[in-house]
Amino acid sequence: MTADAPIPLDADRATQLAAEFGLKPEEYDRVLGILGRVPSLTELGLFSVMWSEHCSYKSSRVWLRELPTRAPWVIQGPGENAGVIDIGEGLAAVFKMESHNHPSFIEPYQGAATGVGGILRDVFTMGARPIANLNALRFGDPAVPRMQRIIDGVVRGIGGYGNCVGVPTVGGEVNFHPAFDGNPLVNAMTVGIARSDRIFTAAATGTGNPVVYVGSKTGRDGIHGATMASAEFSADSEEKRPTVQIGDPFAEKLLIEACLELMATDAIVAIQDMGAAGLTSSSVEMAGKGGMGIDLVLDAVPQRETGMTAYEMMLSESQERMLMILKPGREAAAEAIFTKWELDFAVIGRLTDTGRIVIRHRGAVEADIPLAPLESEAPLYRRPTAETPKQPVIDAAAVPDPLGITAALERLVACPDLCSRRWIWDQYDSMVGGQTARRPGAADAAVVRIEDHRRALAMTTDCTPRYCQADPEEGGRQAVAEAWRNLTAVGARPLAITDNMNFGNPEKPEIMGQFAAAVRGMASACLALDFPVVSGNVSLYNETEGRAILPTPAIGGVGVLEDVVQAVGLALPAGCDLVLVGETHGWLGQSLWLREVAGREEGAPPPVDLAAERRNGDFVRTRILAGEVRACHDCADGGLLVTVAEMAMAGGIGATLAAPPPGIPPHAWWFGEDQSRYVLALPDAAPLLAAARAAGVPALRLGRSGGGALVLPPGESISVGALSAAHEATLPALMMGD
């Protein structure tokens, strides 16, 4: 062997290491076939991360193909760093959601912080200035001290990173369920704005073009993070802490400004952030997408530690780094920008026409791999699936009401899944940027105006994991429909979604069955609502000691308002009629009332009738845009009365409500979680009810706002102040120990 070829590992040692790196025996055989020899250590590391579940989507890809990804307004669908949609006036919205579940469990603060950092880079890599962050969080039982520490760390981590980079955190969602005790979910979403004719992608072109490394230095943190994220947890997961990366939001802020400054020139051919699997995945994907080869000389990589090996540098997941291909001769101009922002800049290689990745370090070739088979022969599994057994539909008439309506309401608004999230969002800067028109808690979706435009984006994240557990197909459908509904409820035209698929071990047929069914349900809603998927992320193996999470296909939705002043919030004004749009049967299966009041977690979840969803939503949006509606809130968790109570608490105004129609038990009327419904507040219901009749949309007058209490027939009443006190007390009381 000479220094011109990689030095293979000892064959037995390589077999053993391949297993330790998470390669299955048949996958390792493919490595041997592609190379025609035993790999070097660096090569083996490279194969194992590229073929990890996290990077290769080997278990999920066959199913994800079923999702609709096209619409006339889609500029870039899945497959790039983020999705891109046309929002008019020459502008594009660039967005994606991504999980950082495994790192956040091991090290909550850094895990969550670097999750935010990673998704920000995915968005500004495409040429967009990030304008908003959201996060979808699922935690275990919040009464358990260990979980409180995780909640606290995750919230501090998200705030610590987002606040420092100066991107407002404007929305998101939180659920609690013991199924997340050993595996909380941290899904972070970023939305950015770019000119639609200035979108940057990862496909590298131009033999001889310089490969440029910018950002922070490379250290030994996060080595094999992608592999860790592709395995279940066991009792010794604490030992995996060194695989979690450390975030530096200050460096990220500089990187955003420097990249956007360089992107305003025409120096960049292609750009990709170094996320999971760091330098390996960025270099392999950029060269692979462009059909090129790539030569890297690792001696030039800016290093934070001494004596780093090629293997360590290629697998490091140090944060706040980007890889770019520049046009020839632009290095000096680009370097000046990065020097101005006090960031590292180094030419670390060249594009070649060999179709191979060749890695050199200290004069020796450490890896030499053909790129095409790395992708074309990547494992792809159609794993066996088992259908989730259907649960029976619960007959509301057969479920007695043990508590009464107002007492149940007071309990529900204070339960962890429905209580105020103020304790969380009070730690996130939601206003920086000066464009946040609807901040957390003010509306069903956050509304952020685009600087120097009338236009605004609405954004939301949604999923109801307990529905998905009971019926993954209905749950997947519901998650997409609810995102569409929340955007509609502020008056926005829903445009597209990003999905973050969080599931257990795909090697178990029941888990893979959940995944396949959820995708089926999501696809049906995407099609019916013209709401395509433009980006996404899959997180599998969310299990600890064999216990899986509730399946959670979290949906991040984005919509547009042509004028920010059209947006409506949910706060109830005085002197308004309340109108319920949509049909109510009193569906108690999987409702929070059934769980929190009757103590039963069972039944089929509420089905979504997609035709009714579209009809009701289009009707509501038309009325909002006509300027008739003062407040709007969709009926979601907790049902109709919780919806009205949330509006009342936000506005500090009560309401007098009409009696339920005959034939529905009152508790089912008030707390059933029937889908596709909205509560609207407007000065006079009559014209809207007439319009609804004409449009074939079910609508009825629910009551009238005013006073300081919710008054229910036959004369029960509860003060809005008392509800608010209960609603606000829960999280601070739980988290006081920190």
Binding site: N163, G166, D426, D429, V432, V564
Partner: protein, 233 residues
Amino acid sequence: MKAGIVVFPGTNRERDMALALARVTGRRPDMLWHRDADLPPGLDLVVLAGGFSYGDYLRCGAMAARSPIMRAVRTHAARGGHVLGVCNGFQILCEAGMLPGALLRNASLRFLSMDCHMRVERADTPFTHRFQRGAVFRATMAHGDGNYFADAATLDRLEGEGLVALRYTTPDGQATEAANRNGAARGIAGILSPSLRVLGLMPHPENQVDPEIDGTDGLPLFESLAGSFAAAA
């Protein structure tokens, strides 16, 4: 009014501030780079905007206070120029010795992002003359280190010389403990230099200047500034 906003590495509310200033002056302020040793000529107002200069990895504002442009800012103030420091900018002014005291970690030890209310303690300054004395206005607060601290003698001097510009209160103007979320000494939200030409405050009035976004509670502060210089010109 000719205004300039200093951009340090990690400054992140310079765009918000530029929008607020443009709203009252009709033109975008200059962006000033931290490494420059000189300010552009003819500047009426220098703004140190919010953010996390140098990541705030050392004491907040400590690094920025020692950057080249701060010498020029100090000279500008000494020559009678006006300086507004908001949030990180207030921290930098304290670290630079241009205002007394320091901003400690919030009493709750948490980052606080929420609305607060402030009472205008002095309405005869270049920053506040469009308010009524005792008026209360709402502003966004977003900081981890906003707990104003100074020794008792300094606090007494500030109070005695009328240099406390803004104090945290309830919406109806009561200076209660609950209204003072970060635990600041004597509920102090903002202080003035003896010349009344340097103001530092923790909350962000620049986020309340647009009726379409979050109301215009903060606008009088910027109108005061614009008015001061329109009258002078």
